[in-house]
Amino acid sequence: MAKGVWIVAEQRDGAYRKISFELASTARKLADQLGEEVCAVLLGSGIEGIAGELGKYGVDKVYVADDAALEPYTTDAHATAVAKIVKENDPSILLLGASVQGKDLSARLVGKLATGMATDCTDVKIDGGKLVAFRPMYAGKCFGEVTVASTPQMASLRPNVFSIVETAKAGEVVKFDAGLDASQIKTKVLEVQKDTSGKVDLTEANIIVSGGRGMKGPENYNIIEELADVLGATVGASRAAVDAGWRPQSDQVGQTGKIVSPNLYIACGISGAIQHLAGMSSSKYIVAINKDNEAPIFTKADYGVVDDLFKVVPEFTQVCKKLLA
């Protein structure tokens, strides 16, 4: 019978992405309820050295395939390697991150493992020995409780939602052969263009300051950027601002942009259209600064300021400077 809670860890350039620790901590919680082990799969090249670190977050065993063909990430190579080790060990639960890479890999694994998956979950639990995953559907307008009849029961977890908990376990490193043959790999990464801003990506940010059409023009985003700098935040935007060409597509939050869950989301001059709310309503705290007291964003906001953002935001930046000094 299928046994064990497994995760696929995510690393980039030899360093773990935060989601890996979120996955490990969550898997530990589930495995304790089941009385089972937590195992992680770690893929890449020259990454064996970091494998054991996962033990700190509750992982009993880390299956590592260290192979040049696994770097950089390609769907074919990673899906083949994960499917191989998973099939050999038959876990009951398999968790991945709903990061860009995790979304791609997990969906391909659904096909390879002929199983079911709950995508982008915001909560998971065990009920009657089975995984029950809680996830937003219809852009967060309703939620679904998902169960998976086949094994492994797969779920991808929304980044930044699950807490990281340290639980020391062995983190025993077990090497395995990814079993790759070049003919299986039909995609190739030709180039990587890194964003040089040095900012944390919106999906991983703790604090986001977003500006919408109320910013009135690209030149005014400096007041948002100043606030973001003081708070160590990442700047986001509504689609109206992106479509107007004021901000790049990569800044767009919402149903057709990024889905974000920061600790704090500050919306400036954003009305709160349903498509925007879809991307940020799982934020822990929401602040709205808008001059229209009837703007729908106030229905989701924990704290609202009804006023001209051009007056409030610079003042608020000064306040934060003092608070954080």
Partner: protein
């Protein structure tokens, strides 16, 4: 202007150029064979993004009364890319959709945009299909027709599950490139741009392959009036699960639909002076929410 073959790929062409038609016109496409390209675009009919979603009292699903149905916005990008490819390269575009009778409207919309024919998979047994069942049905329909490239939306905005394109690719034994914002076909391969956290990747895949579309890929066209008239006469094949030989047994099931968790009512910071309000907001975030 850029012959296919061995020359080095100039990434700036993809990265710096707009996605507009003018840019596209200067890039000759060559899929590596003389024949026309057989293009497939998968579409799903979903509630309009503005729709209010109400959960049925027994939690078995959503109440569909009063919902306006539209083509999934990400599928629109896929259809548009398919049509652009056809216009440059020659070939034909087949629309494949799984859905109830009303999904025919969405297929007709894609035909009105310029696609050539459709396959409508319609079977009550497939209602509530998960990604695996949906992909099996699409794969069975697509296997039966020639296919050089398949476009899907990166996810459907109803179940938001984002799996079908990749599972479909696996079932067809094809590579997949997902969530892409630019695509260029040349010399029997496809090059795409895929944004990831903090970077953009330029990825090459062999053809045939499955491409899943992200916003930014293009600006979907509207159907013209003559297009709508012509669409009525274009052929659409209707198939059920038995005809395709697929099992309707789902692997992932939404056991219960529930309304979103309620957020506690918010506080409005009162006063007339912006500076005082800013100070109070700072205090609340620091002392009450403890987030800064």
């Amino acid at each position: 202007m850029r012959p296919g073959g061995k020359e080095n790929f100039n990434i700036s062409i993809l990265w710096n150029a707009g996605a507009g038609p003018a840019d596209a016109a200067v890039r000759p496409l060559c899929i590596g064979k003389e024949d026309d390209v057989n293009i497939v675009a998968c579409v799903k009919q979903v509630p309009d993004t503005e729709a209010m979603i109400k959960v049925k009292p027994d939690g078995s699903g959503i109440d569909e009364a009063g919902i306006k149905w539209v083509m999934n916005p990400y599928d629109e990008f896929g259809v548009e890319e398919a049509l652009k490819l056809k216009e440059k390269q020659g070939g034909d575009v087949t629309i494949v959709s799984l859905g109830p009778a009303r999904a025919m409207e969405t297929i007709r919309t894609a035909l009105a945009m310029g696609a050539d024919k459709g396959i409508h998979i319609n079977d009550p047994a497939l209602e509530g299909a998960d990604a695996y069942v949906t992909a099996s049905a699409l794969a069975a329909a697509i296997k039966a027709i020639p296919h050089d490239i398949i476009f899907c939306g990166q996810r459907a905005i109803d179940d938001d599950s984002g799996q079908v394109g990749s599972v479909l690719a696996e079932m067809l034994g094809l590579p997949s490139v997902t969530i892409v914002t630019k695509a260029d076909i040349e010399g029997g391969a496809i090059k795409v741009i895929k944004p990831i956290e903090g970077a953009q990747l330029l990825i090459e895949s062999s053809l045939p392959c499955v491409v899943t579309a992200q916003k930014g890929l293009n600006e979907p066209r509207y159907a013209s009036l003559p297009g709508i008239m012509k669409a009525k006469k274009k052929p659409v094949d209707v198939k059920d699960a038995a005809a395709l030989g697929v099992s309707a047994e789902v692997k992932a099931k939404v056991a219960k639909f529930v309304p979103p968790p309620a957020r506690p009512p918010g506080k409005i910071v009162c006063g007339d002076d912006p500076a005082a309000k800013a100070a109070e907001l700072g205090r609340l975030l620091r002392e009450e929410a403890k987030v800064i």
